[in-house]
Subunit: 609 residues, 2 copies
């Protein structure tokens, strides 16, 4: 519930504290060398990790504590605790749905981490998508520990922290895929996997109690156009060494088969460019899909077209990616929007944000003619290179309709592939790793439940498969597994600068206001006699079109006057009771008259003679 | 803008009027025999319909006037006018999207029809879906003319009119597929097509100016499990006789290929029933998909299960369908929910509403444990036999998650096929009919635009293809085509009993209230001196969690007091100006403090000393 206008102060106050925390982290790391060597043993043979109960016996067990990401897509954050070491995998936000009006984003409640701040060693981030990094600017203000990730992931995080004004005090560290980072007694390997943003990694988390393998968001692409294939050999090797638990991506677990390769998209792009050699081409895609942008740049170059990027996040992300060498832009291919006029339409490709129908994104603004530089015209070819995220379908449809009305040709067939594994890919990873326990992650319950069925189908006993709720503390060891309590957790709504000051009660009020509008009844009474001095004033908003609805205001006023008369006759003088009478009478009247339930507010002010 | 509580009176008043209208209709029919014989000629040869300009030359032209159904899926209603005869194809409603809080349904503004009520001869209804019949109870109260449709369509309409209390005064007439009905100089053939409700028809509308072919909602199913295949021979024959214009379903025009047959669904059902012989089976589907329910009943009988229907619309629709012979329920197959206890789980199939995640539907109530009779338990198999309608994805996901959490197994693969034609089917109909003009209907712009491309691809000249807007009057004849003006049209929101009293301004207010909540500032001043006698009272709703937000109410009060002081210092006494000052100051403060924009209401009441 921190307010942003007090942020600078808070940040300053924190600096001293953080230094203390950092020093502490280093100390902890040294202190736990014993634990680490045990971790090494755990790696070589699963059985050897078992230890009889000693003073440090707790490190024979590892706890998996998801603090978000299990009830909806988004807000991924999972604590892994072994003894006195806690590491956190990912720290994402979620986007609100239509039932949360006015909310900008949702971040996890990290009370569990702040309560155990002396044990939290580091964040390990699997990749740079918002649902995995978006809460860091909020959470690092509460727990400032090192953040590990691959090059682009850290680049994107740093940009976020700069925007929040806290980059200087945060400790972000780049890890290469194929190498490891240590935090207390825990060692984390970053392993190459395929996904829709470069640098996406699975994590093999070596704890004294065994290896926890976290897939991150992944798919298996044998023929990626940019970068390498998922490191199946390394994954297989880890599997041979023994894996205690597999935490795996469930997003597409309800889909049979195998997610198609990026190659399919490349083939489609090539055909589209070849067949539309006389048109300007626009492509809407995710700004974070750097490899897709790379493909488009390559195709543009092949067909002699210049590339223009549009949309703030597209420009920023590609700038960061280029600076870090995560995208190769051949000299002379990219031009600025100012140079657009120097080229004929059929030598241009505009790559833009807005493929999800986001109201303020560049493509939406082109569609509704509010984009300052690009006007859509008949003959333009517009490729939608993304699928609507569930909930965005209508917004995407609106944008498509507006573009079609301007005469553009829309192409959306085979222009996108998912970044998430389907059933056969998930089964492949289970089969390579052969974990003792399966903990399906990253998905709604139905997705994780489907993932659990896959785990069972490849031979993991049902008692070893866990469908967790956020806050569940799952304790695992070679000898057994079970829930060991509940961590505090929850969702904090971010609305403007406020974090957590809009909760479910406020949201319910907003929903009621939206559904029926509101009616205000205000009156002033003499504090001595109770005689009405002014009012009742009646104001409505969002209830009915007053001018077209006859004498609705007089009708309401008459109902209120009747209530007042009744209260007077019954000698009711208590203002709360009078208010309740007015409210009840008015509700009843409006339901009978309109079958509607507006929010009714009654104000009675006392004035003194 | 008729209110329901005045309905009875209105209906009585109408009875006399309607009789007059009916008499008139009959007279018109007789009067127009000349026109009709010309219509017959038009059928035999397209060329002969052409006439030199005479007193009745206007009947050489036919006007197509969509009054809805072109900007969104739903609210289908199209007037066809030839000379002094207007017929109306369909009269549907639309459902609101998430941007229209509190709205129950949307119906078309039929001012064009009421303004021409002396010419409107009849409604011809293609099939019984809400988006084709749902506005009739409202519209028939304004224009009471005969309604033609096939057996089930008329059965469903009659049920609606009964609920609205106007069935007795409406004239609904059943037409068999393969036969015709006349209205003025216009003759309408009802032609068998395939769709997701029995009795769905295409209409061949024979006007003196030529044949308008309206596909209705259709698909081509060569192997329907219930009923006949689309009457392609009849369609081909009409094509050979000559078709002036084809109005065709565009819903799936962006999808390549051919929509699969119901046979696919049947195969899936059979497999599911065979593989889950120990489980209770529940199936969520559309209540109107009578043939799907028939399939399920047949499969249940084959596997020795009893069928229970749940959900009000499911029970009602199947009752109507059975009474009309549109579904065959073998004796002893259907049981009531009260008998459920007499059978083991694996001898039961529950067919239920709620596959779209509708909050109050039976399946949703089972999912959230508020259904009184059915409790979902581990082992239950739940088949989703429908796809989410765009916009319903999240609601469907919520229901699926809740069901999965209760341990049910969800099946949604190959359990549904669309009722709408894909690209090859649309091309087939163009090819059989070879119309002079193409007018893609039933779909958002992008769908209709894709349909237009198909029309062009099968050889219709681009100048003969029309993508209309609601209200466009498209005038067609053998010699030419073009827009001939604009008919009044629009959407009326139905909210509770109110029709049209909630418009865009009210909706915008509701959106603002939803996005930021509201703050009320109320004060009472002495009418003479302007001295504040009471207040400022501050009340908020949906703005912020007040108890957890420190002294936000005091903060707001202080801002208001400062504004008042400033007004006093500047000797501002005009209440409107004072209110505006308070509003502006408060808006500025709240934006700085929270970056939020609540709705601010200020009430200043005058009291007399």
């Amino acid at each position: 519930m921190k307010e942003n206008n007090t942020k600078n102060k808070t940040v300053k106050e924190k600096k001293t504290k953080e230094k203390a925390v950092k020093d502490k982290t280093v100390k902890d790391t040294v202190k736990d060398q014993a634990g680490k060597s045990r971790s090494a043993k755990a790696k070589t043979s699963r059985g050897k990790a078992k230890k009889p109960g000693t003073a440090r016996a707790v490190a024979d067990k590892v706890q998996i504590i998801p603090l978000g990401g299990l009830n909806k897509i988004g807000m991924n954050i999972t604590a892994i605790r072994c003894g006195d070491d806690i590491i956190v995998v990912d720290c994402g936000l979620a986007f609100p749905d239509e039932t949360m009006p006015g909310i900008d984003k949702i971040i996890p409640d990290v009370t569990y981490l702040t309560e155990n701040s002396d044990k939290v060693r580091a964040f390990f981030i699997t990749h740079g998508h918002e649902d995995h990094i978006g809460a860091l600017p909020y959470v690092l203000q509460q727990i400032n520990v090192p953040v590990y990730g691959t090059k682009l992931t850290i680049g994107l995080i740093t940009h976020k922290l700069e925007e929040a004004g806290i980059a200087g005090i945060c400790d972000c560290r780049v890890v290469r895929q194929g190498s490891s980072a240590k935090a207390g007694a825990i060692t984390v390997d970053f392993i190459k996997i395929n996904h829709s943003i470069p640098g996406s990694s699975a994590l093999a988390i070596h704890t004294p109690a065994g290896v926890i393998f976290h897939t991150g968001d992944f798919k298996v692409d044998y023929t990626p156009l940019v970068g390498d294939t998922i490191d199946l050999q390394r994954i297989a090797a880890i599997g041979r060494e023994g894996v205690l638990a597999l935490l795996s991506d469930s997003t597409n677990a309800m889909r049979p088969g195998f997610t198609p390769s990026e190659t399919m998209v490349a083939t489609t792009f090539d055909t589209i460019f070849a067949e539309n050699s006389r048109s300007r081409i626009l492509v809407g895609t995710f700004s974070s899909n750097v490899d897709r942008v790379q493909q488009l740049i390559n195709t543009a170059k092949k067909y002699g077209r210049k590339v223009i990027l549009q949309g703030r996040s597209m420009v920023t992300t590609i700038e960061i990616a280029e600076k870090l060498g995560c995208i190769k832009i051949p000299r002379g291919t990219m031009i600025s929007i100012d140079e657009m006029g120097n080229y004929p339409d059929n030598r241009l490709v505009i790559i833009t944000t807005g493929s999800q129908g986001e109201a303020m994104a560049a493509l939406s603004r082109m569609a509704d003619s509010t984009h300052k530089r690009v006007s859509i015209k008949p003959g333009d070819v517009i490729i939608f290179s993304s699928n609507p995220i569930p909930g965005n379908e209508r917004a995407v449809a609106r944008v498509m309709n507006e573009l079609a009305e301007k005469g553009a040709k829309l192409i959306h067939q085979d222009t996108h592939v998912s970044g998430h594994a389907c059933q056969q890919e998930i089964e492949l990873i289970y089969t390579l790793l052969r974990p003792k326990y399966a903990v399906p992650m990253h998905g709604e319950f139905r997705h994780r439940s489907a993932n659990a069925q896959l785990a069972a189908s490849v031979g993991i006993p049902e008692k070893n498969i866990f469908l967790l709720k956020a806050g569940d503390i799952l304790e695992l060891s070679e000898s057994g597994a079970g829930l060991a309590g509940k961590a505090p957790c929850g969702e904090l709504f971010v609305d403007g600068l406020g974090v957590g000051d809009v909760g479910n009660a406020v949201i319910r009020d907003r929903q009621s206001l939206a559904a029926g509008g509101m009616i205000l009844v205000a009156l002033t009474v003499d504090s001595g006699s109770g005689i009405v001095l002014a009012g009742p004033e009646i104001i409505t908003r969002g209830f009915v079109y007053v001018k077209g609805s006859g004498d609705i205001i007089s009708e309401i006023r008459n109902v209120v006057l009747d209530s007042l008369t009744e209260c007077e006759n019954r000698r009711v003088r208590d203002y709360t009771k009078i208010k309740n009478t007015i409210k009840t009478d008015l509700e009843e009247y409006l339901w009978r008259r309109f079958q509607r339930n507006p929010v009714i507010l009654t104000v009675i002010m006392e004035a003194e003679w």
